[in-house]
C-alpha cells in the first residue's frame, strides 16, 4: 500500500536526481571540451570540415525557411498594419521580428533538428562501433579529436546561419510587401533603417544565436558521447537531442529576452 502511494514520488525523485546528475556531467563535459580545444583549433582543417557538415549543408533549409517565414510575416504584418493605416511600417515590423526573435530562435530549432541530430547520431555510432575506444587505445583523446571540432563548428555556424535566415526573411518580406502588394520600396527600406538599432536589435540577436549555438551543440555532442552504444541507444539519444534542444532554446530565449529588451 505504502509502496504504491510512494512510487510516483519515488519516480519523480529518481527523474530529478537523474536530470541534475546529467546536467552536472554535461557541465564537466563542456569543461573538458574547452580544455582540449587548443589542440583542435590548432589543426583548423578538422574544424573547417565540420563547419562544412554542420553549417554549409544546412544552408538550403535555412535559406528556404527564412524566405517563407519572411513572406508570411509580410502577409500577416500587412493585414494587421493596414487596419491601423500604418502599412508603411511593414519594413520595420519584418526586420524587428526577425532580428530580435524569429531569426535566432527558428534558425536554432532548424539547426538542432538538421545538424544537432546528425552530430549525436554520428558520435553515438562511433561509440557503438568501438571507434572511440580504438582512438583511446591509439592514445588519441576522442574529446579533442571528435567532440571539440564538432562543438566549435556548431558554435561558429549558428550565428552565421541565423544572420542568413534574417537576410532571407527580410527579402521575403520585401517580395510580399513591395513586389506583390505594391508598397513604396523607399518607404519600406527607410522605415526599416530608421527603426532598427545596431546594438539593441542586431547585436542582441547575434548574442542570442551564439548562446543557442553553444547550447544546441553541447547537447548534441553530449548526447552522442553519452549514448548507450547500441542501435536503439543511438536512436533515443538522437530524439533526446532534438527534444532537449527545442526546450532549452525556448527557455533560454525567454531568459535572454527578459534581460535584453
Amino acid at each position: 500500500m505504502f509502496n504504491t502511494l510512494a512510487s510516483p514520488f519515488r519516480k519523480l525523485g529518481e527523474l530529478t536526481i537523474n536530470a541534475v546528475w546529467r546536467l552536472g556531467f554535461a557541465t564537466r563535459f563542456l569543461g573538458a571540451i574547452l580544455m582540449y580545444s587548443g589542440q583542435s583549433l590548432m589543426r583548423l582543417q578538422m574544424t573547417i570540415r565540420e563547419v562544412y557538415f554542420a553549417g554549409v549543408l544546412s544552408l538550403i533549409i535555412i535559406v528556404v525557411s527564412g524566405l517563407f517565414v519572411g513572406m508570411v510575416l509580410g502577409l500577416q504584418g500587412y493585414n494587421t498594419l493596414s487596419r491601423f493605416g500604418s502599412a508603411d511600417a511593414l519594413g520595420a515590423l519584418v526586420a524587428l521580428s526577425l532580428l530580435r526573435e524569429l531569426g535566432p530562435v527558428l534558425a536554432a530549432l532548424l539547426f538542432a533538428s538538421r545538424s544537432g541530430s546528425a552530430m549525436t547520431a554520428e558520435i553515438g555510432l562511433m561509440k557503438a562501433t568501438e571507434q572511440l575506444d580504438a582512438m583511446r587505445v591509439m592514445a588519441v583523446n576522442p574529446i579533442a579529436r571528435v567532440v571539440a571540432p564538432r562543438f566549435w563548428a556548431g558554435v561558429i555556424s549558428m550565428p552565421v546561419l541565423a544572420a542568413l535566415f534574417n537576410v532571407m526573411g527580410v527579402f521575403g518580406g520585401y517580395l510580399i510587401g513591395v513586389v506583390m502588394i505594391g508598397l513604396d520600396a523607399g518607404t519600406f527600406w527607410s522605415q526599416m533603417q530608421a527603426n532598427v538599432d545596431l546594438h539593441s536589435d542586431v547585436i542582441n540577436g547575434l548574442i542570442k544565436s551564439l548562446v543557442f549555438g553553444i547550447a544546441v551543440t553541447l547537447i548534441a555532442v553530449f548526447e552522442g558521447y553519452d549514448a548507450t552504444p547500441t542501435a536503439s541507444g543511438v536512436s533515443s539519444a538522437t530524439t533526446r537531442t532534438v527534444v532537449t534542444s527545442a526546450l532549452v532554446i525556448l527557455a533560454l530565449d525567454f531568459v535572454l529576452t527578459a534581460f535584453m529588451f
Binding site: Q131, V137, A139
Partner: protein
C-alpha cells in the same frame, strides 16, 4: 631488467558490475614472444586485452606492462603506455568517416611529425603487407569484413609498436589471406622483436606460430603450455579444444538459471 616478462598479470580479478568475468588470472608474456589466448566465446578473452591496454581496470590484482602497473596509471601515463602499443579490435573499429589510407595514416599523423609524402609511402607499405595496396581510396563501408580486418591490422602496426594486441586476427579470412596474415604476425614478432598477445579461435594455425598458449575458461586459466606440450597433452581439456569436440569438460552453452526444457515449455504454455 630485460629478463622480466614484458607483460605480467598477477592475481587479476575483474567483473562488469556484479558479474564476475575473470578471477585470479596469472599470465606472463616474455619480451619478444608471441602468446595466444584461447577459450570459448564469452570467456573473457577480449576483456583480458582490455585490461592490458588499460581500457578497464582490474577489481584486484596487478597488470604489469614493461615494468609499470597499468592498473594504477593516471591518464597521462596510460596514454604514454598506449603510444608503444598497437591493438587490432575484434570488429576492426575502422573510422567510418576516413578513407582506408587515412585510417592507416591516422596514428602516424597523430603521433609523428613526418612529412606527408613519407606518410603516404608508409601507408602504402603497411597496406601492401596485408595485401590491400589497391584499396587506399575506398571508404570502410566499401570493404568486406575480412578486408576491413586487414586494414585495421595495417593501422595497428603503422607505428611499429613494441607491444601488439590482436583480437581474433584470423576470423573471416580465406585460407590464403589467413596464411599471409599469420606469417605477417610472426614476422613482426621476430624481425621487430614485438611482444604480442593474440586472442584466437584458430587452434591449428596459431599453434604453428605462437610461443606459448593460455586457455581461459570459467574466468580462470584452465590450461597453459608451449604448442608442443599442448599438441601432445592428454588433458581432456586441451584435447577437447585442439580437436573441437562439442562434449567434454568445456560446456558449449552459456550458463542459464533455467533449464532448456523449462524455457521451451514456457513458450508453449
Amino acid at each position: 631488467m630485460s629478463h622480466d616478462p614484458y607483460i605480467e598479470l598477477r592475481n587479476v580479478s575483474f567483473g562488469y558490475g556484479e558479474r564476475q568475468i575473470l578471477s585470479n588470472i596469472n599470465l606472463r608474456v616474455p619480451r619478444g614472444q608471441l602468446v595466444a589466448i584461447m577459450g570459448g566465446s564469452g570467456s573473457g578473452k577480449t576483456t583480458l586485452l582490455r585490461l592490458i591496454s588499460g581500457q578497464v581496470r582490474p577489481d584486484s590484482g596487478e597488470v604489469w606492462v614493461d615494468g609499470k602497473n597499468v592498473a594504477t596509471m593516471n591518464t597521462r601515463e596510460l596514454y604514454a603506455h598506449r603510444r608503444k602499443m598497437g591493438m587490432l579490435f575484434q570488429f576492426g573499429a575502422l573510422f567510418t568517416d576516413l578513407s582506408v589510407a587515412d585510417n592507416v595514416a591516422f596514428p602516424l599523423r597523430e603521433h609523428t611529425a613526418l612529412p606527408e609524402d613519407m606518410i603516404r609511402d608508409l601507408v602504402t607499405l603497411k597496406l601492401s603487407a596485408v595485401g590491400l595496396r589497391g584499396t587506399q581510396t575506398l571508404m570502410p563501408a566499401e570493404l568486406s569484413g575480412g578486408m576491413a580486418r586487414r586494414v585495421a591490422l595495417a593501422r595497428a602496426i603503422a607505428l611499429d609498436p613494441e607491444l601488439m594486441l590482436y583480437d581474433e586476427p584470423f576470423t573471416g579470412l580465406d585460407p590464403i589471406s589467413l596464411g599471409v596474415i599469420a606469417h605477417l604476425i610472426k614476422r613482426l614478432n621476430q624481425a621487430l622483436g614485438t611482444s604480442a598477445v593474440m586472442v584466437t579461435h584458430d587452434v591449428q594455425k596459431s599453434l604453428e606460430i605462437v610461443d606459448y598458449v593460455y586457455f581461459v575458461a570459467h574466468g580462470e586459466i584452465a590450461a597453459e603450455g608451449s604448442p608442443e606440450t599442448v599438441r601432445h597433452s592428454d588433458s581432456p581439456w586441451l584435447k577437447q579444444f585442439v580437436h573441437g569436440d562439442p562434449d567434454g569438460p568445456v560446456h558449449f552453452a552459456y550458463p542459464a538459471d533455467t533449464s532448456l526444457a523449462d524455457d521451451l515449455s514456457a513458450g508453449a504454455r
